[in-house]
């Protein structure tokens, strides 16, 4: 059952049906404020409650992760970076504690992104836009900036008064202080970003004496600017106009998704209520607008589920405060489903269905990708082998009738220690390996590869006279005590002379 919540609130001034030409309408619009709409300022009022507390806690956790992570040290041998989390573009490495990824292993990052997307789909289908309301950097930093704004300018009413008031010393220092602190936070945000890409203590020192990379200054400036503008000025407009996620939501949510919901079945008919009046024959909503003034997105949740809503629950906290005051049960606005509201509206018991085909296949896809990733990480060899076979010439016939093929073995050692690997060749019987400048060896060859490096080793395979003619499948294996890698290739013995 699909529930359509009717949001018919047509502006009576705009419903006229008198014929007007398109040009006249453009002129009318321009007269009313233009073809462009200025942002209507939103002054969210501070609320207290369960969801607000969770939001504060998550803000502290996420910001702490962001600012502390680059400063965690991690001991690695052989002159490798000592930073636990480091995206080393210059060296082409991603370090994450004990793991290091090479550019050719970028599929692990892809897998992680797929997992994140699937997790987001699943959470959205189950609980709505929790990411938007609690964890998205746009939300977290905007929340932090509003906290600063409140500290300087006071709560909603004080801020509205201040904005309306003519310029004065009081207004000036409050505004200046707010913007200074905002800029400080923005600079701290942009500054912390670069620590993820360079050795943090080094780049911190280098930054102040003008010795950091140009990119460090550029990205610091860029993220400082975007933080200041997005969290200070753009705020909900980022979510409404820039972010694609609210649009994608539509495909994830259904009537069984838990979302911040105004329980219209209980709230209507709404209206002012005086102390001592009866609650019979009316809804619990006293139309106090507490939910509207608390909303950081500037919407009225009582209009139903809408694009702008980030599911943060601040309106629920605001409403609960009011319900406590008027002595009605909490939860007039709460995480609920459209289906439940519709069921209660017709007097049926609300049914909550967390297990639905949609959640099952999101969970299935998430589990599949997670298992794939874990399997990939667990079975990841620190050795990797690629064999480039000489194609010009394909083979060289020696004086004694033996045939020699040339190969370049690219042996990658992704460990933090140098490795000596033995190179084994599976090919024609009696074939021997040899490197330039050394006599042929009957057994396996030993090749040393530096820590965290690729060694290109030139290796020749000499097959005795009488090896089966033509190209045949063959393979190289490199191994040491712990790891091994294998690569298929071809041994071409040519045509018999």
């Amino acid at each position: 059952m699909t529930v359509v919540i009717d949001r018919t609130k047509a502006d009576p001034a705009r419903t006229g049906s008198e014929p007007v030409s398109a040009a006249a309408r453009v002129r009318a619009k321009a007269a009313k404020g233009g073809l462009y709409q200025a942002r209507v300022p939103i002054y969210p009022k501070l609320v207290h409650g369960r969801w607000r507390a969770i939001k504060w806690a998550l803000m502290i956790v996420t910001l702490t992760i962001y600012w502390v992570t680059p400063w965690i040290r991690w001991s690695r041998p052989n002159g490798l970076p000592q930073q636990a989390v480091l995206v080393d573009f210059a060296g082409g490495r991603f370090y994450f504690f004990g793991i290091q990824l090479w550019p050719q292993e970028v599929y692990f990052i892809t897998g992680l992104l797929v997992m994140a997307a699937m997790a987001l789909f699943l959470v959205s289908a189950l609980f709505g836009r929790l990411w938007c309301g609690y964890a998205c950097p746009q939300t977290v930093w905007t929340d932090l900036f509003i906290y600063v704004e409140r500290a300087f300018e006071g709560d909603r009413n004080a801020r509205m008064r201040l904005d309306a008031a003519p310029w004065s010393f009081d207004k000036a220092w409050r505004k200046a202080g707010k913007h200074l602190v905002w800029l400080g936070i923005a600079f701290g945000t942009g500054g912390a970003w670069i620590f993820y890409f360079h050795d943090a203590p080094t780049v911190l020192r280098g930054f102040w004496v003008g010795q950091a990379a140009v990119t460090a200054y550029v990205f610091c400036a860029l993220l400082t600017a975007t933080t200041y503008i997005f969290a200070g000025f753009m705020r909900e407009q980022v979510c409404i106009y820039m972010c694609p996620w609210p649009r994608i939501q539509g495909a994830m949510l259904d009537q069984h998704s838990l979302q911040i919901t105004y329980r219209a079945d209980r709230g209507e008919a709404r209206g002012p209520h005086k102390k001592g009046e009866t609650w019979e024959g009316r809804g619990d909503c006293i139309d106090c607008n507490a939910c509207v003034v608390a909303c950081p997105m500037g919407i009225d949740i009582r209009d139903g589920s809408q694009l702008e809503c980030i599911n943060c629950g601040l309106c629920a906290d605001a409403c609960d405060e009011i319900m406590d005051k008027v002595g009605r049960p909490r939860g007039l606005i709460s995480y609920d489903t459209d289906a439940a509201v519709a069921a209660r509206a017709v007097g049926k018991a609300a049914v909550y269905k967390l297990v639905r085909p949609r959640t099952l296949y999101y969970a299935g896809a998430l589990s599949f990708v997670s298992v794939l990733m874990l399997w990939g990480l667990a079975n990841r060899s620190v050795l990797e082998l690629h064999v480039l076979r000489d194609r010009n010439p394909m083979f060289v016939r020696m004086q004694d009738g033996s045939v020699r093929d040339g190969y370049t073995l690219r042996i990658a050692n992704r460990s933090f220690y140098p490795k000596t690997v033995s190179v084994h060749f599976n090919g024609p019987a009696g074939a021997v390996l040899k490197t330039p400048g050394a006599p042929p060896t009957a057994g396996d060859l030993q090749v040393t590869v530096d820590a965290n490096a690729i060694r290109a080793a030139r290796i020749f395979v000499v097959a005795p006279p009488g090896a089966p003619a033509g190209p045949r499948a063959a393979a190289f294996t490199v191994r040491d005590r712990r790891d091994q890698a294998r690569a298929n290739t071809v041994f071409d013995a040519g045509a018999q002379p």
Binding site: S17, A22, Y36, Q37, Q237, D390, V396, Q399, P436
Partner: protein, 288 residues
Amino acid sequence: MSERKIDGPTGVETTEHEWDGIRELDNPLPRWWLWTWYATIAAAVVYWVLMPAWPGLHGYTRGVLHQSDRVKVVHDLADLKALRGAEGAQLQTASLEQIERDPKLQAYAMAAGQALFGDNCATCHGQGGTGGKGYPNLRDDVWLWGGSLEQIQHTITYGVRTGEPGAANTQMPAFGRDQMLKDGQIDDLTEYVLALSRRPANPAAAARATPLFAEQCASCHGPLGKGDQARGIPNLTDSEWLYGSRREDIRDQIVNGRGGVMPTWGKRFDPQTIKALTVYIHANAGGQ
């Protein structure tokens, strides 16, 4: 036509454009969007001032930053040269054996050698170094002038039959063209040479040519026809034939006595360049 259409659920006027029953809402653009547009225009103007932008009749506006990709390439090339300086210097001091044994130096020499070989040697010896008729194969284990590192270095440095000091100038006589031998004698010698490399030959003719070979050929090719690498004299008993292995090829060589020329690369390249080429050729030939 121009009656105002209001969308029911939102109460917003529509543009009257309709696609399969879906009408476009005529919401006003947010004003910041307009400001973003102005900002891009301002950025474009700043770009014109800073960077090369406008074409003119005699060139283009250079911009105050004097940005030029051509200049940047020159700088990058200079940087690259400086970067290579360290390894180039190492190449200069290290011996050929040291280069071949040090994986890093060898990789550097091989990379440099590959480019040098393609630019300078591949014209005759082929991109893969397998040569052709008259041009020796540098990949196999037969070497006219010797296949050790030092011998290869020497051959590259001084060249072959250039007349320069240091270069070998051995030249096979044109026995037929200069009428030193008669046609019948040349036929017999051809059979003898075929027999030397254990290939089907007329035994009677070969036997007839035995004293002729000792008289005319053994002074250079040796009594057994094994040749002499020091003077670049080919071994006639192996399976490698620079000018072809067919009966008519061998006869043609006795008649005309051809000998190829290789430039004196020492006059064009500095020693480390020749070292890199030497290591590249030696390594690709399996390294004797």
